[in-house]
Amino acid sequence: MRRAAAFAAILRKDLLLMTRDGMFIALTVLAITTFVALYYLLPSEVQPGFTLGVRGPELQPIFEQLVAEQEEPVPIVFHEEEEALFGAVERREIDVGISFPHAMLEAIRAGERATVTVYVTPALPVEYRDAVHTIVREIAFALAGYELPVTEPDEQTVIVGPDVGPVPLRDRMRPLYAFMVLIMEAIALGALISAEIQQKTLSAIVVTPARTSDVLLSKGVLGTFVAFTEAAIVLFIIRGFGPSPGLVLFALVLGAMLVTGVAMIAGSAGKDLWSTMVIGIVMLIPLAIPAFSSLFPGTTAGWVRVIPSYGLVSAISAASIYGAGWADVAADLAVLAGWVVAFALAGIAVLRRRIRAL
């Protein structure tokens, strides 16, 4: 009971100090207004252009000829196997994958019908799907040597992932907005922790009945609560919850805990406010890479997936943009939870050590 009172007192004090911290208030207002304004200022329409993958290296000369005739050539990536092509679309490394059957040339020349499978990302605009159909026809004509009549191949279009239609850039930026808000709150929390250490106010607390763990718990709870609340407000305003708000909120809680761990490390390691900010930013920049990567579907490199924040961005992106459910992002959330535990333990260890050295 007495511990609860001590914890509540520290939490109350931290909240009071946060509301009186000019930098915290400025960062909070700046984060909310900037990201919301940015969201509504960006166009809600998708931009033209897509990347193309093809199964059938034997067709490369024909494609190169076709591309050479285009005013704005479409970049093409060739794959040996259909499975690899499908994987590339699934990972959004390319927007469209056309898989020509191995014996297509012979089939067309023999006047037989061949089936071409087209894999597209859910975000590909409908008009691009029509363009893909034209490409398939052109290839068929080219293979037949433009000798009419040509038996056109059957075309089977497979949408890889939930079909939600094209996604404007501003909506793809939702995970980035959420993560940037979390980053700013982490920096503000780090600054507060640093101030407590530099001004030695923590020394005065640890010679009262309050324990070091009360101080740590208070910082952790407050940091998580503030970062989560602000990120949730921003996502709410920019309609970023999608059909699974519970999932997005859960991912945000984990994300807020992750950055709170960073704040504890930066706040404890910094010698002053500026060094705390530098350490915090240096730690947070790599964590922001997945959020930037999500702006360009299909460009995420393999190493980005091992960055601790990848699960957060991936879960928010999948749930808020593509309507993914719990089962779809369970693996991402599990990995993220593991990173949260690691960062929280590291943050607590560093801050505890610093308190003991006071």
Binding site: A6, R12, K13, R20, K200, T201, A204, V207
Partner: protein, 294 residues
């Protein structure tokens, strides 16, 4: 005298290879004010950290308020008050909020902040943020904060450092009141005059060791030198004498010729003033350690 509030026996502590506290032994009784004097790096702060449970000694034992070597630290901390040298107050909170926060940490539901502020002369400014306080006001709030829980042992580090004489006198009055209430007061300071005025006993610490510990008067008797300072007018109208010139001489009272010397001085028509002098704590510290307190 009853059971000691603080009993320290052979405590040692090192920071890596640097020995900070080297076999310190002393005790402080309830109601007693003990001054812990020494230069920077002598081991004062480390000793206080060990006593307050912030550091565990490498060797030796500390028994405070019945708790052996920290014991139940939460219970121990409930009964001590610490006033740090750094003004580690929450500058963005008011004086009242600072005291309220610490009273909550001690689980005090009916703490009277107004009375506490009034006691240190801050009743009128209690609702101002601490960042607007002068150095003296901050120091008074620091003392009030150390007394929030009516502690049985009070640690005060340079409690009147940089204060104006009026504020310093007020703080000293508070410290005496707390000792009269029965609190053991452990005072660390550079200020020999303060230690002399306040302390029932003083301990000199140098290079981690206590080199002397006793009542200030006893230390002066044992280690000091009694003397008289005599001022004589030197302008007798003789050629070369400057008008208004004064000659000052110090005579040691510990010698056999002291009585004769004093008699001769008293009969001298040039005599202006004669004052007895005794060694200061600082003189004794220098004599015992070969170094000053700065």
């Amino acid at each position: 005298m009853g059971m000691s509030a603080i009993e320290v026996d052979g405590v040692r502590y090192s920071y890596g290879r640097t020995l900070a506290v080297d076999g310190v032994t002393f005790s402080v009784s309830p109601g007693e004010i003990v001054g812990f004097l020494g230069p920077n790096g002598a081991g004062k702060s480390t000793t206080v950290k060990i006593l307050t449970g912030m550091l565990a000694p490498d060797d030796g034992s500390v028994r405070m308020l019945g708790h052996e070597n920290g014991g139940n630290r939460v219970e121990l901390h409930r009964r001590i008050g610490v006033c740090f040298e750094e003004k580690n107050l929450y500058a963005e909170m008011t004086g009242r909020e600072n005291l309220q926060f610490f009273s909550r940490l001690f689980g005090l539901r009916r703490y009277d902040t107004t009375a506490a502020l009034r006691r240190v002369g801050l009743a009128e400014r209690g609702d101002d943020r601490v960042k607007r306080y002068s150095k003296g006001m901050r120091q008074r709030l620091m003392v009030a904060r150390a007394l929030v829980n009516t502690p049985d042992v009070i640690f005060l580090d340079e409690p009147t450092d940089g204060l104006d004489p009026v504020s310093a006198r007020a703080i000293r009055g508070l410290i005496r009141e707390e000792a009269e209430r029965g609190a053991a007061v452990f005072l660390t300071t550079h200020d020999m005059n303060e230690a002399d005025q306040l302390s029932d006993r003083v301990a000199f610490i140098n290079e981690g060791r206590i080199v002397a510990m006793d009542a200030p008067e006893n230390l002066k008797i044992e280690h000091g030198r009694r003397s008289v300072r005599v001022r004589l007018r030197v302008n007798n109208g003789a050629a070369g004498d400057k008008p208004g010139g004064v000659d000052e001489q110090v005579y040691d009272l510990g010698t056999q010729e002291a009585g004769e010397l004093l008699k001769r001085v008293a009969d001298d028509p040039r005599l202006l003033t004669i004052h007895t002098e005794e060694a200061s704590l600082e003189d004794i510290f220098i004599k015992l350690t070969g170094r000053g307190l700065a």
